[in-house]
Amino acid sequence: MRLAEVLITRLIRITGYSAIVFVVLIFIFLFGEGAPTLLEVPPGGLLSSRWYPIEGSFGILPLLTGSLLVTLGAALIAVPLGIATAVFVAEVAPRWAREILKPFIEVLAGLPSVMLGFLGIIILAPGLYAALNLPTGLTAFTGAVLLAWIALPTIVSVAEDALDAVPRTYRDAALALGATRWQTIWRVTLPAARSGVLIGTMLGIGRALGETMAVMMVTGNAPVLAFGLTALFRPVRTMTATIAAEMGEVASGSVHYHTLFFIGIVLFLISLAVNLSAASIVFRQRTRAERVLS
């Protein structure tokens, strides 16, 4: 009995630590493969605005701005919609509707992104081309809409769980104080579930940032600098699509190969920054809550 307990504790501890070890190993590997590019390509070359690797132009700015633009666009669509949907499912919808909606949202989360990419090519891109009179339907906006669709179920699912976990007594107390249903949701339930909602949001954005296939199919992949609102309705090339499209072709150990790994490092650092900022907000909120309670 004691032995089993010791073994299980050990096992759980090892699996816990192994997550850290794997992240560190991945970073070491990425760094080892990607860092040489800093020596091979002059900094001005990496920060230039031209990406044409078959002739030695390795400016990653178009790819960086492309990824940021598409992800930001997706977040602007998915976050408000996702939180609103979560609030509806958890707080407003009648019980029977909730029991139908929740599994459907979870199925949506499991849809392969390549399928959404097909829908994007066949329906969304021609639709946007015709509706907005764009030169082409393969734009950053098309990618953002698809990514929002991909991020949405994650946000809704996690945020809804967080809202659901808020104790019944909070709501009862708020209603007893004369708060309306809206005031209860906006001032009590949502703030109480804030960390879970935030984590859902970050997971959703992380999925959007890392998504490759759907984005590659609908954004047109033109490596142009993407700044401002007009760029949203022009083709862009994202970092993930670049890695996916070019990694199969590249000779291992070449400058191009190292630069693709360098792009991997940049992606890794961005998602690390997103996660760390989320963690710090959650942490700050918790300490404040503890102060209030003590």
């Binding site: 178009p62 082409t136 339907g137 199919m217 490596p223 142009v224 199969g248 590249v250 000779a251």
Partner: protein, 262 residues
């Protein structure tokens, strides 16, 4: 040329069921890289192997041998309702280099031109860059306009052109479907302009045509040699015709790539 390689493999599997053939796509660079790494017996490529790839292969102890196995023409395609029916090579180069931005400059409607291309890892991309944008001049440093859309597949190009009246694309003649309009190409603005077809390619009248290659690691022997013989024979070349490519003369013509480059 993955369609062709697959069709050959499938048909040959019928002839020799005991063999285990598998074909993987991904672009000419992918195949050649795999040949260099020694993971395949035959690499299919729609472009010639580059000198640096030969050097890499030789450093790995692999000596690629080249076979021209079919001919391919690149068709310039536009939307079916686009009134522009013919373009000179110079106009095509100017469009893709970004010097011409509106269809009205080449006799069409007042619409922006949306340029579609295959990804940079496609042999078709490199061929188009070298032979059309740069007119075969290796000192010419013209590049694709940066806003050229790079699509990962031929289907992607066809799909986009099938609904987009602004778009122009290029693709292998074997991939052209009825959903797009093929443009006649000429050298001289006064004509003649030629539409790509098996006949015009074989008579060397159509200007944007090329050979498709297979590379083996060292002189082929055993099964690889039999396979190449079969491909270059009547059965293999019949499949070439079926898929919209153009057959080569049925003779085992091999030459070392580094000499072929010079």
């Amino acid at each position: 040329m993955v369609n062709l390689a697959l069709a050959w493999a499938e048909a040959y599997q019928g002839v020799r069921p005991e063999l285990n053939l598998s074909v993987t796509g991904g672009g000419s660079g992918t195949g050649i890289a795999a040949l260099i790494n020694g993971t395949v017996d035959i690499a299919n490529a729609s472009r010639r192997i580059k000198p640096e790839e030969v050097a890499q292969a030789e450093a790995n102890g692999v000596f690629p041998v080249e076979f021209a196995v079919a001919r391919d023409a690149i068709a310039i395609v536009v939307h079916t309702e686009n009134p522009v029916g013919r373009l000179t090579l110079d106009q095509i180069a100017d469009i893709y280099a970004g010097r011409i931005d509106n269809w009205s400059e080449v006799g069409g409607e007042d619409r922006p031109i949306v340029r579609l291309s295959r990804e940079t890892n496609s042999g078709t991309h490199v061929y188009f860059l070298e032979e059309v944008l740069r007119h075969g001049d290796s000192d010419d440093k013209t590049r694709f306009s940066p806003d050229t859309l790079l699509l990962p597949s031929s289907e992607g190009i066809t799909r986009e052109i099938s609904y987009n009246r602004n778009a122009i694309g290029y693709d292998g003649l074997g991939y052209v479907t009825g959903e797009v309009r093929v443009v006649a190409v000429g050298d001289d603005p006064a004509g003649p302009f030629t539409l790509p077809s098996a006949e015009t390619v074989n008579r060397h009248e159509y200007l944007i045509a090329r050979d498709l290659y297979m590379y083996t690691a060292g002189e082929p022997t055993g099964e690889s040699l039999d396979y190449l013989h079969w491909i270059l024979g009547p059965e293999g070349q019949a499949i070439v015709t079926q898929l919209g490519f153009v057959p080569v003369t049925p003779a085992l013509t091999s030459l070392p790539p580094d000499e072929a480059q010079g």
